[in-house]
């Protein structure tokens, strides 16, 4: 019996432990499904694979090679550690061997992944006697190397931000690449969702436009973690027909997946024991038995705290780290490389990490993985859990929930997780603000014909608007860029508008920009005294200069977060789709006017209100999309106005959180507004709006899958152990009223009737 099996047995017999386990799923071992090398694969490439001990391909790898051979765009959707990189490296290397002039562009969402890719490619090429020139090209690339990369790189590995601001606006310097571009590889496709995805879809429109100028129509190979709509997302991003490859051919050993819910310590408030303390216990059991483990936490602070706990727990001599390491952003690249190597060789026994290690950085496979708190999406939970799992022998993943509503939903509804994933990655490339900004960039890159399409978006009116704005100049049926500006520099792919408030850390003598928030969100997130979270670190806002769009923050370590009290006025401007039955539901364009008047300080975990303060900032205005559901009097079966009001307040607390679960969003990405007598519908109405200017597609999606979402919301409320409402479900009674929970459930019944 292995050490892990012994521990699992011990846990099973421990009633105290099992009382907290809400699901112990055993995923059985699965045999691999294989294919011989496709004949199209160059003989030298086959030999190189053989030398690396690969004498056949997984079925999905072979399918990807064959589909690209047929000239199709491909989306490969398989889990972590299923040999995904070969799905694109093989076609690309094959093309370069056939014609050394061939070029490929690889897009990864982060820089760290790029480095690993290049190393792997070069290793492959070494075995084939192919003079492969693969380079990363990003902000860190030395200026002296850039010209050579532009001229002679076979494979250029970069990220969407660099493509957007550094490559496309200078495409004339990349003639060789664009004239010979055969493949564009987009890995971690599911990351391109929401605002980021809406931007990236437009960057791809620009990329295709530039390729066309040089006479190429490259093929796309996309890879994604498992989501509900990979094909739809791929088609949204590249606007081409896509062949989906979803059958995973990689073998898998038996895996135990445990959902662990810490015991309740305060029944009334629904407060549970800290997940960090529970993780300490679980991880100590593992590490103490010498089982190589990875522990994920959500913050940098969590990494340091757990590291101390674990080292102390093992009662090691001072200075002896007993092979336990931390890993997070902020560590030097050299330190990180050493830890990665230590994990591969086994000298590092355990690593405590933020999600920095979630993505494809090569650390080999661990035996066990402990996840502190739900990582936010099913996809990244599987990616983290996928870090444990060797070719042979059992592996273990434990997810320890915290008190937050999403965690509680997940841990008490494991089927949501273990069933077919309901998560949709959504992007809205035609968000008018994002689209218009990319039309500016595209016009900078190449003049626009009057009737030239931009992907599937009609842009004639946008071009004429920009002409009137004196940004473009029309001549002979073409719109030319005619302004002293470099538009890509002003547009961040991470936020919807250009009008951002920059967040400046003044903790050190040298002030440093650490992030930005959009103008609309600024009064809520960075009002003076707000606690702003960035990379797991807390900062307090000292000064918000709204006119100059700058927020000055200082690092702090406090036990609360802040929540701004927002007075929101919502006005429907346009209805895009409507359905009237017993209830009325619709989605459309809305205008939100928001005024922040005060903020509250809320203690972590207990969610106690421990203070407040005023905010004096101007009202902000945003145009976005909203979904709404309205209740005609007949549907309400005689509920009093007061009851309806309490029910709506409960729905407003509950639904955004649950809905964001289906959209892979942050709970803050969707906001709710309820109106007891909405001017537009004249009825009690619940609005859910995309909390991004222009909208990113959430409202439309909710309109389509509203039943699924409200059913999930009902499950949360029903399964919650509180009696009259708590922060984990419909909100505490002092907010939604004594019978708020009952009234919320009644409204849910009405919707789902």
């Amino acid at each position: 019996m292995s050490k892990l099996e012994a521990l699992l047995e011990q846990w099973r017999e421990n009633l105290g432990f099992m009382a907290n386990v809400t699901r112990w799923e055993v995923l059985p071992a699965v045999e691999g499904s294989y294919s011989t090398f496709p004949p199209a694969l160059d003989r030298r490439l086959q030999e190189a694979l053989l030398r690396r001990g690969i004498d056949r391909l997984y079925s999905h790898q072979a399918a990807a090679v064959e589909a690209t051979r047929r000239g199709e765009h491909v989306a490969v959707v398989t889990p972590t550690a299923s040999g995904k990189t070969l799905c694109y490296n093989l076609p690309v290397l094959n093309a370069i061997m056939e014609d050394p002039e061939s070029r490929a562009l690889y897009l990864f969402p982060t820089k760290a992944l790029s480095q690993d890719q290049v190393a792997e490619l070069c290793e492959m090429a070494d075995g084939i006697d192919l003079e492969l020139r693969a380079f990363t090209y990003d902000g860190d690339t030395e200026p002296g190397l850039r010209q050579n990369i532009r001229r002679s790189g076979h494979i250029v590995v970069t990220n969407p931000d660099m493509l957007h601001a550094g490559i496309l606006p200078h495409h004339t310097k990349w003639i060789k690449l664009f004239q010979n571009l055969k493949y564009i590889v987009i890995d971690e496709m599911h990351q391109y969702r929401g605002v980021f995805g809406s931007h990236v879809a437009n960057v791809i429109r620009r990329l295709k436009r530039v390729c066309l100028f040089y006479g190429t129509r490259p093929q796309f190979i996309l890879c994604s973690a498992t989501i509900a709509n990979p094909g739809e997302l791929a088609r949204t991003l590249i606007e081409e027909p896509v062949t989906e490859i979803t059958e995973n051919g990689a073998p898998r050993a038996e895996k135990h997946f445990i959902f662990y819910n810490p015991p309740v310590v305060n029944q009334e408030l629904g407060i549970r024991r800290s997940s960090l303390l529970e993780v300490r216990r679980v991880a100590s059991d593992l590490v103490g038995r010498g089982i190589q483990s990875i522990v994920f936490t959500r913050s940098r602070l969590g990494v340091e705290v757990l590291l101390t706990y674990l080292r102390n727990g093992l009662k090691t001599r001072p200075g002896d780290d007993s092979g336990i390491r931390g890993y997070r952003g902020g560590y030097l690249p050299k330190e990180r490389r050493a830890i990665e190597a230590g994990l591969r060789s086994g000298t590092v026994k355990a690593v405590v990490s933020t999600n920095a290690l979630e993505l494809g950085i090569d650390i080999g496979q661990m035996e066990a993985c402990v996840i502190t708190g739900y990582p936010g999406t099913v996809a990244s939970t599987w990616q983290q859990a996928g870090r444990a799992g060797r070719r042979s022998g059992k592996s273990l993943a434990v997810m320890v929930a915290n008190s937050e509503p999403l965690n509680q939903y997940l841990v008490s509804n494991p089927d949501y997780f273990f069933g077919r994933t309901p998560e949709r990655a959504l992007a809205n490339p035609d968000n008018l603000i994002i689209l218009t900004n990319h039309v500016r960039c595209a016009a900078f890159e190449l003049p626009f014909g009057e009737d030239e399409p931009f992907g599937s978006a009609p842009v004639r009116e946008i071009l004429e608007f920009l002409e009137d704005e004196q940004v473009l100049y029309r001549s002979e049926g073409r719109f030319h860029w005619m302004e002293d500006a470099y538009p890509a520099e002003e547009i961040s792919l991470r936020s919807a508008t250009r009008e951002n408030v920059v967040i400046i850390d003044i903790s050190n003598p040298q002030p440093k920009v650490i992030g930005e928030v959009d103008r609309f969100g600024a009064p809520m997130l960075v009002h003076e005294e707000a606690i702003y979270m960035h990379g797991g670190q807390q900062y307090q806002v000292e000064k918000l200069d709204f006119a100059e769009k700058k927020a000055f923050v200082r690092r702090v370590d406090v036990n609360y977060f802040t929540d701004a009290n927002l007075a929101v006025d919502l006005k429907v401007l346009d209805t895009f789709s409507r359905d009237i039955s017993a209830i009325e539901r619709a989605w459309g364009e809305v205008r939100i006017n928001a005024l922040v008047s005060m903020f509250k300080k809320i203690r972590f975990n207990t969610h106690e209100n421990i203070g407040s303060g005023p905010v004096t900032l101007p009202e902000s205005e945003m145009h976005t999309t909203a979904f709404w559901v309205a209740f005609p009097a007949a549907s309400l079966g005689g509920m009093t106005t007061a009851a309806v009001e309490e029910g709506l307040a409960g729905l407003a607390n509950l639904t955004p959180q649950v809905a964001s679960l289906f959209m892979m969003g942050d709970p803050r990405d969707l906001r709710a507004v309820c109106q007891v007598k909405a001017p537009f519908t004249d009825l009690p109405t619940l609005f859910l709006y995309d909390n991004f200017p222009g909208g990113v597609g959430y409202s439309r999606e909710i309109f389509g899958i509203y039943r699924e979402i409200f059913q999930a919301a009902r499950r949360v409320a029903v399964n919650c152990r509180c009696s009259g409402g708590c922060p984990s479900c419909v909100g505490p009674a002092h907010q939604v009223g004594e019978h708020g929970k009952t009234h919320t459930l009644r409204l849910l019944e009405v919707i789902l009737r």
Binding site: T172, E469, Q470, S475, M482, D484, E499
Partner: protein, 411 residues
């Protein structure tokens, strides 16, 4: 998505969600024919349509600032190879070169920046001819570039000021976009880095404007500031305003003429003529040393050491000592280093050079150890500027440890 896009855009502009460039002024209709420089301008036909240029002649015997244009003819490639840091420039012939300077719709570069005025100058018999292509309308760009490209191809060599980073790449970008051959001169002399190498010890700025005032005796009055130039062109294009355009043309003329006299000045300075200041000798000496022209380097540096202020004298002595080191004249070099230790407070080079001399040449480890220790001390107490390579703290400590080991072995 439904909804009238135009009115949605207007809404977003009003709410500030879409940043607005500002004014929404009426467009102008047809403009009258462009007519700005009677007698100087020409409209010419190309395979890609018509384009416009203006031509001016300046007698080579004439003056620009305090210098004669004909100085140009006597410049020797050999003198330019040194400040240009390119031995191939020996073949360079100013008399057969194209002087190029462009005015653009922005400084950020990239494919969206236009060259709306391409100024070029060259020597023709006893005149300096100056031609300015002007983009009267975007539709004429290809014709303008085609005419320019063909004319430019007749010159083997190119002279610019900051053209390596700006003018030439921008021209090439426009040529790529227009599907034309790229301008690729056999030799390219960029006067900006040359000037920096020669005068940065003396002048706080090496912008063309500063060089004109300090070296060429030219003071511009009423010159248009560079950052306004794009807007002059935009208001010409959108509203037909030509008043300020003349200033842009004139600005470009002066830039090109100044390049001609600056080239002369660079060549003379490199030849050791007209050197006005010990700093100039120092810069030249350093350049000569880098190029391996040791005798000339020593002469220049000695001049600086005799006439310069304290700082320059020390810098010159340091350069001299490194030349002596290269020539393995160890005792003379060591003498200079001993002199320098202590008088160049922010530079640890003499300490370490001397330490190396004691360690590897003289075999006096004690002395080497003591100097290295002093260097470490200075670094720790931040008496010296942060350094890299062998002057960095880890390197110094490494040296210290090695010397200690050697001493331990020998005792």
């Amino acid at each position: 998505m439904s909804g009238d896009i135009r009115s949605r855009l207007e809404r977003l502009r009003r709410s500030g969600e879409l940043q607005s460039a500002g004014t929404l002024e009426g467009k102008t209709g047809d403009r009258p024919p462009f007519f700005l420089f009677p007698g100087e301008e020409r409209e010419t036909e190309t395979d890609a349509g018509r384009c416009y240029y203006r031509e001016l002649c300046f007698p080579l015997a004439g003056k620009h600032g305090n210098a004669y244009l004909n100085g140009l003819i006597n410049c020797r490639g050999a003198d330019l190879a040194l400040p240009g840091k390119n031995p191939a420039l020996v073949e360079f012939s100013p008399g057969r070169s194209l002087f190029l300077d462009i005015e653009t719709t922005g400084l950020s570069g990239g494919t969206g920046t236009w060259a709306f005025l391409i100024g070029m100058g060259w020597v023709e018999n006893d005149i300096f001819r100056l031609r300015q292509y002007f983009l009267r309308h975007p539709r004429e760009e290809k014709a303008m570039l085609l005419h320019f490209t063909r004319r430019a191809a007749q010159f083997s060599d190119l002279v610019t000021f900051n053209g390596r980073a700006f003018d030439l790449p921008l021209i090439v970008t426009r040529q790529v976009l227009a599907g034309l051959p790229h301008t690729s001169p056999r030799l390219h002399l960029d006067l900006l880095p040359c000037s920096r190498r020669l005068w940065k010890e003396r002048l706080s700025s090496c912008s063309l404007r500063s060089l004109e005032e300090a070296l060429l005796g030219l003071h511009r009055h009423g010159d248009i500031p560079g950052e306004e130039i794009p807007y002059v062109y935009f208001s010409y294009l959108r509203r037909g305003e030509t008043a300020l355009l003349r200033d842009v043309f004139q600005h470009n003329v002066l830039d090109i003429l100044s390049m001609a006299t600056l080239l002369t000045r660079v060549a003379r300075a490199a030849a050791g003529e007209d050197l006005e200041h010990p700093a100039d000798y120092y810069s030249l000496g350093k350049l000569c040393a880098e190029a391996g022209e040791m005798d000339k380097a020593v002469r220049c540096l000695q001049k600086t050491a005799c006439n310069g202020d304290e700082r320059l004298t020390h810098l010159a002595l340091l350069q001299l000592s490194m030349i002596l080191k290269k020539q393995k004249q160890w005792d003379e070099a060591a003498k200079l280093w001993r002199e320098l230790v202590g008088c160049l407070p922010y530079d640890l080079t003499p300490y370490i050079e001397l330490a190396k001399y004691y360690e590897h040449q003289a075999g006096e480890y004690e002395a080497a150890l003591s100097l290295t220790r002093q260097a470490v001390e200075r670094t720790r107490r931040r008496f010296s500027a942060p350094a890299t390579g062998e002057l960095s703290l880890p390197a110094l400590q490494h040296r210290l440890a090695r010397l200690r080991r050697k001493l331990g072995e020998n005792i």
